[in-house]
Symmetry: C2
Subunit: 313 residues, 2 copies
Amino acid sequence: MTDPLFQKACIVGIGLIGSSLAHGMREHHLCTEIVGCDLSQDVCDKAVSLGVVTEAGPSPSKMVSDCDLIILSVPVGAMSAVLLELNVHAAAGAIIMDVGSVKGSVAEAADGLRDDLYFVPAHPVAGTEKSGPSAGFASLFEKRWSIITPLENPSTEYKAALTLVEALWQGLGADTVQMDAQHHDIALAVTSHLPHLIAFTLVSAADDIESVNEKEVVKYSAGGFRDFTRIAASDPVMWRDVFLHNREAVLEVLGHFSEELAAMQKAIRWGDGEALEKAFSRARGLRREIIEAGQEVDLPNFGRDQEKTIEEE
Amino acid sequence: MTDPLFQKACIVGIGLIGSSLAHGMREHHLCTEIVGCDLSQDVCDKAVSLGVVTEAGPSPSKMVSDCDLIILSVPVGAMSAVLLELNVHAAAGAIIMDVGSVKGSVAEAADGLRDDLYFVPAHPVAGTEKSGPSAGFASLFEKRWSIITPLENPSTEYKAALTLVEALWQGLGADTVQMDAQHHDIALAVTSHLPHLIAFTLVSAADDIESVNEKEVVKYSAGGFRDFTRIAASDPVMWRDVFLHNREAVLEVLGHFSEELAAMQKAIRWGDGEALEKAFSRARGLRREIIEAGQEVDLPNFGRDQEKTIEEE
């Protein structure tokens, strides 16, 4: 067994991603000791009792002074406040990594950090709709992409920090890729932020149609609606912060979506079957590519009917 | 074992739903003999070689004369033409059932049917994103709702036909419910048609954003986008016909969606975190209800990570 990459890590924000990182780092021997912080004392207690971390408390200042790795897995809007605190209390030479879904605003928030702290912004494109310290599992990042958006820092120490962070993700089974923060923010607006916004909106709208009651929405949800409720069940605070901090990119891709929706609406109103069929025919190839890239299961209905089918055979 | 409900059924349109019905009816001994029709000779050949039906040909007129059950599982836009043909060739007393996703237009199309043919419109709220005769499986309708929208026909014979059709669905493991066609069409516009339209639109829009290429959309699709590609991979012709034949209801619910989306957009533009968080907090309870109603699996990520998690344990 090779030596762990880090001696002591502090995970600030012990939710789905934070706890998955802790489980994964422990399982793959990437870090000798893992402690945690969370504003909620309940979350701290639960994280310790579940064995996610060995020790946890509400204040990063008391936990990070002997850590060589500090992971920020808090909502994007909370990053600045945590960074201010770390700037006072983190040990010289510590690597700070965030896992936020928006990278431009986080890079800005890190602007005044001490020269002897090495901040590496990262975003693992992985998750589930569950939240909290009991939702994490070690394999969450396997075969998923972790996007690193390095700061402009040509120093040898910063390069070494980048290498260590990439090794961490690879140790968790992820692939890594580097890009600039601005490109990350538009790409993820397309593949993650807009889909979440649309799912939240659809669920809200369904609530709003008087002639169809909630009971019916539940009963007949297997017609397609239920798919949307999965990502719409994601953590509301985390997603609020994503939209507040990636406004420009989200509004841009939302503009494209609205144009396309208007075209669909017009085709329906005017009975333009040809336009509809053409638009509807685009998606199969793309889904096939996603499955071939290992980012989706190759089973009808996401494999939901597997048990039924197996029983039958 | 009780006697089968029907002696000989003809399935017109041997796709996902038609072939699932054939498998299910055979498995549950609901019908003695099952033949089929499909415009495509390839589909006919495949359906016979897969054992979906014992015999198949392109023309209903040649197949239905001795059938006591005729199932129309063709796209909604093809119903009228098939009904015209059945009106000439179907045996007196035959029950005709369709399984289309729109019920108002089908009822209209059935308006001139002979008095000795009993037409029962039905819609099983079940499916997968796969199409064709090899996509079907017997358990597709288990624990799903099949909605029956009876015609206005007070005769004893029609009541008996309704009872038989309900017994058929229950024999396949489905629950049945009766409602009028107009209410069906607005309820399903909410739980099925709008979700499909939105998914098709999102996939089209993603294709449209120059700064993010398709490769990136594929790579980072686990951020949420991949969920939408499932229903957007559904049969384009079937869905074209749904929107052409349920125009009014779809445009109405689309109006609600667009209002809600405009409100979300405004909240993002103006940085109204409170409004966003409030809107985002609605969905969890609804998803919980859908799971409790047995219409969704109780697993994070639709159970996609199950294999990963099991390996880990």
